[in-house]
Symmetry: C3
Amino acid sequence: MQDTSIDPRVNLPVRQKTSLLESEGRLRHVILASQFDRERIDDLCKVAEQVREIAEAPKGREELAKLLPHLNVLLYFTQPSTRTFLSFSAAARLLGMGVEHARDAEMSSEAKGESDFDSVRMFASYFDAIVMRSPKADLAERCAYMMNDLADAKQNQRSVPIINAGSGKDQHPTQSLLDILTIKRTFSRSRYEELHAQDPKHAFGVSQLDVGNKRYAFCGDVGRGRTIRSLAELLSNYENVSMCFIAPDHPKLQLSDDMRNLLLKRGVEVEEYGSLDVKAGKKWLLSTVDCLYMTRVQSEHDDNDLKTFLKTADTSGCHLTVARVHRMKPYAPILHPFPRDSRVMEIPTEIDNDPRAMYFRQARNGLWARAGLLAHIFGKDKKLADVHADFFRERHDYNR
Amino acid sequence: MQDTSIDPRVNLPVRQKTSLLESEGRLRHVILASQFDRERIDDLCKVAEQVREIAEAPKGREELAKLLPHLNVLLYFTQPSTRTFLSFSAAARLLGMGVEHARDAEMSSEAKGESDFDSVRMFASYFDAIVMRSPKADLAERCAYMMNDLADAKQNQRSVPIINAGSGKDQHPTQSLLDILTIKRTFSRSRYEELHAQDPKHAFGVSQLDVGNKRYAFCGDVGRGRTIRSLAELLSNYENVSMCFIAPDHPKLQLSDDMRNLLLKRGVEVEEYGSLDVKAGKKWLLSTVDCLYMTRVQSEHDDNDLKTFLKTADTSGCHLTVARVHRMKPYAPILHPFPRDSRVMEIPTEIDNDPRAMYFRQARNGLWARAGLLAHIFGKDKKLADVHADFFRERHDYNR
Amino acid sequence: MQDTSIDPRVNLPVRQKTSLLESEGRLRHVILASQFDRERIDDLCKVAEQVREIAEAPKGREELAKLLPHLNVLLYFTQPSTRTFLSFSAAARLLGMGVEHARDAEMSSEAKGESDFDSVRMFASYFDAIVMRSPKADLAERCAYMMNDLADAKQNQRSVPIINAGSGKDQHPTQSLLDILTIKRTFSRSRYEELHAQDPKHAFGVSQLDVGNKRYAFCGDVGRGRTIRSLAELLSNYENVSMCFIAPDHPKLQLSDDMRNLLLKRGVEVEEYGSLDVKAGKKWLLSTVDCLYMTRVQSEHDDNDLKTFLKTADTSGCHLTVARVHRMKPYAPILHPFPRDSRVMEIPTEIDNDPRAMYFRQARNGLWARAGLLAHIFGKDKKLADVHADFFRERHDYNR
């Protein structure tokens, strides 16, 4: 497989890429957060919810495990990420898939001079899907195009779906999917009623059910964090969304120009602050937002300029405190992609028991989102819906 | 989750901790060897034996695999231990559980400043039980209390069992369980008849069936080895038990004062020797013992004083030889938690074929003990007993 | 277990070893390529083909997974090899086996002074087969003999099959098996008709169906590559086979004296060349061969003499080019055990789309070959044949 035939596709505008990554109306590869338009998000979140509801009972988990027992997935992680790794592993197992790993490629084939494409094509000989995380920015995308070429080849060639579990500093699409699933759940009527035994219209109004008509705040590593960038971009597809970005006073941590321009072009109202402890107009900023997305300021990257800044600067304005949480709306969820930094404590553990703290549930939503995604890719969403219907009809019959 | 709310429980006397680690009459977490009182040991060994007997036939293994197919366990080993790791993995698979690992936590989340509690709570989002081995002494215990707090939280929080697979220098409870299972099996009537085609009363007397009324010898790293300490403590709960401790002439290797005091307080007769090649009264020491527990003297720890001693001292008195084994009672089992040291050879390979050499069977007993433990924790012991009864009724019917 | 009782068997002539590695007419351990005589190859390739054909349908994969669901295999790789590792893992999963790994033995038991034999015997306590790859030349063989001794022991001792997944520089028997399976498939009537919609007699004549009556070329690291040595030896069992060896001009890379002597003794016609770009008589060498086996010249070994040679020598004569492939017979397959070297490009990626390029299919054949081998070892070949017959009868009935 040659890079020269792949480069033109990598250089296409994002909107043109998405159709290359689909097949027969469903996602074939999952590479870019931009593949998730509103319709797709609604569909994938519905599937994820079905997985979650079925999985609540042991018998349901046995049914789920019958969906894809004949398939094996390879988790090919040349960049370590225990959390994402385990989440994908558990999600695949939920559907009955076999799970294998390749983590230390540098120890064997790559040391022998093998190209990334040869490695991935070989892995595709043995496995039915490849979930890959790599420090190389475009690698997952390039592998997806290689798989497309193999599927199109005259001779019958093996081709499997590629799922991006984080590539370089740019894309981590399944993180965005679980973030938005968490937001949708938080603002769903049934979920709110379950948690609060109250009609949500008394709390946040019917127009705020679902993702639109809200004020979102993003705090921490606004400039570099791919989770904030991807989520903000997805949210910008919804109507009447405004966004506040709170970052320490360093250009690499603050909202980038291209991101600001993209959001403004899409009609998003954008505000920027240097601390959570400020007022927006006459009110405390935090009392005005419907959802707060916190992130860790990453200090392990090789950026001496920023490291020096972080050693001396006071970034405590970008950390949550119990007092600050008190200012928030009673229903406003606090999200965090985790890990949080236990040394600087951008979210102190005292807050974990607050009902607004959603970050652990958010992680568990990753399980449902990723399992639902795999079911979708392999065309089992219809079967899943049947299982769901049967399962709850039976429970209903049983409970009568 | 905060350490400050957990510290008081870590500092409780052991007897008070055990009830914190139980739930509805069964073990919820397995953290301390002291959780195994005589009644619990009898129960867990019965379950382990049932697993073993069912597993003998391929069809039995298929039945076992139906017990917990809907559950996934995470083996979280930040301290390497190939043997314990594989034993837990095989045990969980025996019950149909999915098995995943996290070994290199230091490479990802922890490098990002994540606390141990956040890591473990995250893992609990994806898996149904966490088997953990850590160099940090109390970590598994603290995580168990965190899980208790989550189960008690007002909002429905995810909480899973924690199983200690070795923490620091102190606790390795499942090793103690498999040790005592090996002793019980060795001294069971059916096992003795099977091996020797002879009623055991001709060999060691009916009073010696089971664990009590025996003279145990422990040899090697008496002072530091957690296996010896835990097993001796468990055995001290049985009636009429005496113990000999044989260790090289260094205070760190010899019986510690606190251990001696604990055993004496419980009425155990304690003798101490510097070599296996001595007389106890008029008889060779080894001819007087009913069970010999050997251990490796660990030299890989950072203890320069001890390293110097081990380089120059003659520790051969604490090694078995064929001649020494000849002095032993014909039924007295030789145990060793393994690995043995192939450089100093505390048990030479010539002894492996001796019918008293139990150390490889002991390892295999670990499989049954750990599978039985998982069945117990997840409330499948009743179901297992049914499978066992059905299975042997069918075989019996078939053989008539 | 003692080395002294095993040494005599390691030193036996190869022909006498093979019976030690069998049991009741089937392979018990797989250690040496020489275990594959023509009859065994025919049998194992038939089994592999059945696996492949059944696995084409999801329902077939479910049937395959019912063959060995009660067994767990350990992949014990102390020498890294991502490709072989994943191939065995996927093959075992195909039959429903559980798969576990031990890769970093040096980190735990071995650091504690445990012998290889103790480690492997321990692993056999937990798992039902051990696939091992080791830098130690005879280790797998020695472990197989240890397992034989355990099976023969008076007391019932646990003994499991050992499968060599590459040991030292010498043996990698399953690679040879998949190589020869690929050759057999390429020259089978049904396969040729499927690919070319033409009776193969028009292409290469009926006498060339199957492996014999052919001219094979081996190019690259002829002297050191164990894949070439093993395959050439297996092919020498077939009638009317001639072989050309093409290697750079360095004695360590060229055909070794012992190999040349063995082939000549078996009546193989042997030719040796320094480049693919030469004539054999009046024709281009490549236009005369029926099958070309390429290999990578390994430069990561510690051999300064050779490293210096490789830095300065022009080895391009031992690389394929599009022009050279054009000279080849239209049906002649190009094999490569992979990985190929992306820096020197012994096979440029332009050739991947040529219908003669078999190297990716060859890798996939490894899956079928290894799954078939496991089915054979555990006596499931008969059951597999039944599944195959049922499966295709049903499909046939359905299609009528």
